[in-house]
Point group: C2
Amino acid sequence: RESLLAAPNALSSVRHVIAVMSGKGGVGKSLVTSLAAVLMSRSGFHVGILDADVTGPSIPKAFGVTGEVRGTASGAYPLPSDGGIDIMSINLLLPHDTDPVVWRGPVISNTVKQFWQEIIWQDIDYLFIDMPPGTGDVPLTVFQSLPVDGILVVTSPQELVSMIVAKAVNMAQMMEVPILGLIENMAYFRCPDCGKEHKIFGESHLPATAAQYGLPVLGRIPVDPQLAALCDNGAVEQFEGHWLDEMIA
Amino acid sequence: RESLLAAPNALSSVRHVIAVMSGKGGVGKSLVTSLAAVLMSRSGFHVGILDADVTGPSIPKAFGVTGEVRGTASGAYPLPSDGGIDIMSINLLLPHDTDPVVWRGPVISNTVKQFWQEIIWQDIDYLFIDMPPGTGDVPLTVFQSLPVDGILVVTSPQELVSMIVAKAVNMAQMMEVPILGLIENMAYFRCPDCGKEHKIFGESHLPATAAQYGLPVLGRIPVDPQLAALCDNGAVEQFEGHWLDEMIA
Ligand SMILES: Nc1ncnc2c1ncn2[C@@H]1O[C@H](COP(=O)(O)OP(=O)(O)O)[C@@H](O)[C@H]1O
Ligand SMILES: Nc1ncnc2c1ncn2[C@@H]1O[C@H](COP(=O)(O)OP(=O)(O)O)[C@@H](O)[C@H]1O
Ligand SMILES: [Zn+2]
């Protein structure tokens, strides 16, 4: 594994690299990446996000980050959010409204490798990687080229969580990277009128699977229309919710 | 297109073939296929389901159909559900708990072609095809080999519906098959305690997109834990809900 690792930019300094992965697209992995980054930033750390996910609404969109990436001979700089989170995203390189399907696997993994080698990540305590979804070749290649310190796995109650966690554990073991924990998104819905919580996708099978592998469940996030609206409006840094407080502790 | 169409089994008689497609996996396309089949069956038609989707919980599971597919020299027969819906599914050929990822695109499309050519579909008024998810090569190949009379597109409020409908319309036009309409799944959640409906994934952009292409929205289905439970327990034929009544009319 060592020989495939790409070196960071000479001017970069990154202390911890945390990869956020999922079993398949659409479970809210990008959202969880954004929330984790915002929470760590609020705790006083300098945070970066390397967005390797071309599918679905993007990290730059959630943070309201637009603009051109400026480069020099020694590298290029990420774009900062209002709250000071440094962001580099494949989505910042895509022309407006391009169908992301044109980005094939090898192009994605090469671009991600470049984001590590060419981008100058200055004084970053925690760099979150919004991984390409799933447990196939593309995320595998990313794990082989970037020095990841820990993995967060995002699941949803709609999927076969035993198979997904098994595959994630397999991949993590192969790459010799510890899984820090599991986060269940869309775990429930809290009715704003009567305050009752409803498990809209049924009972979670995550606790049993987590126990089987000795992994902690770091949080359960509800389906929250306000959260979705903040992301649509580039205002994820304003989110309020205590679902992930344990993870940060 | 004509030259690629596979001939049905000599003993088959199928009056209408309806393909149910989606822009990506996980939006509930298989669920909608099951519901549409059950509703048409309740209306008195003889219905079949050709399950071409290896991802996620399967059609046989939702109908509680298990068992071996029996064949003769002239072909093989689908398995009937309790309510008399004839089912053939890739999932009936998979060994228990096989990771569906081992089924590559060409293997899936060849199997689906065989389901049309080898399976004896007797006296079927409506054959629903639970399409491989998305608008890529695999569903394209299926559309090229099976004579589809109409298409239903399933969407969810979480996705970029304008792009998805555009791609579906493109594919349908290329194949010269009419899109019968759009169905929005997970459109809202009805709180069982206070009865209020909540758009848990935010406002739907479907009406505007549907109008743009002159396509009817045939139904909006809520996230319903009871519905999910019925499917988990092989009891989808017992579902109650009027969300798709207009579609059947
Ligand atoms: N907890 C949630 N509440 C409301 N909307 C959500 C939630 N999680 C995800 N979404 C929405 O679902 C869609 C998919 O989420 P995303 O984070 O892009 O998933 P992934 O990265 O796994 O593909 C987005 O439109 C997002 O706003
Ligand atoms: N309206 C709904 N209410 C509750 N659960 C749903 C609903 N639609 C889909 N699901 C659940 O979501 C998962 C994915 O649905 P599925 O029909 O397999 O999607 P697709 O065929 O698009 O991949 C299944 O576990 C299913 O039971
Ligand atoms: Zn309520």
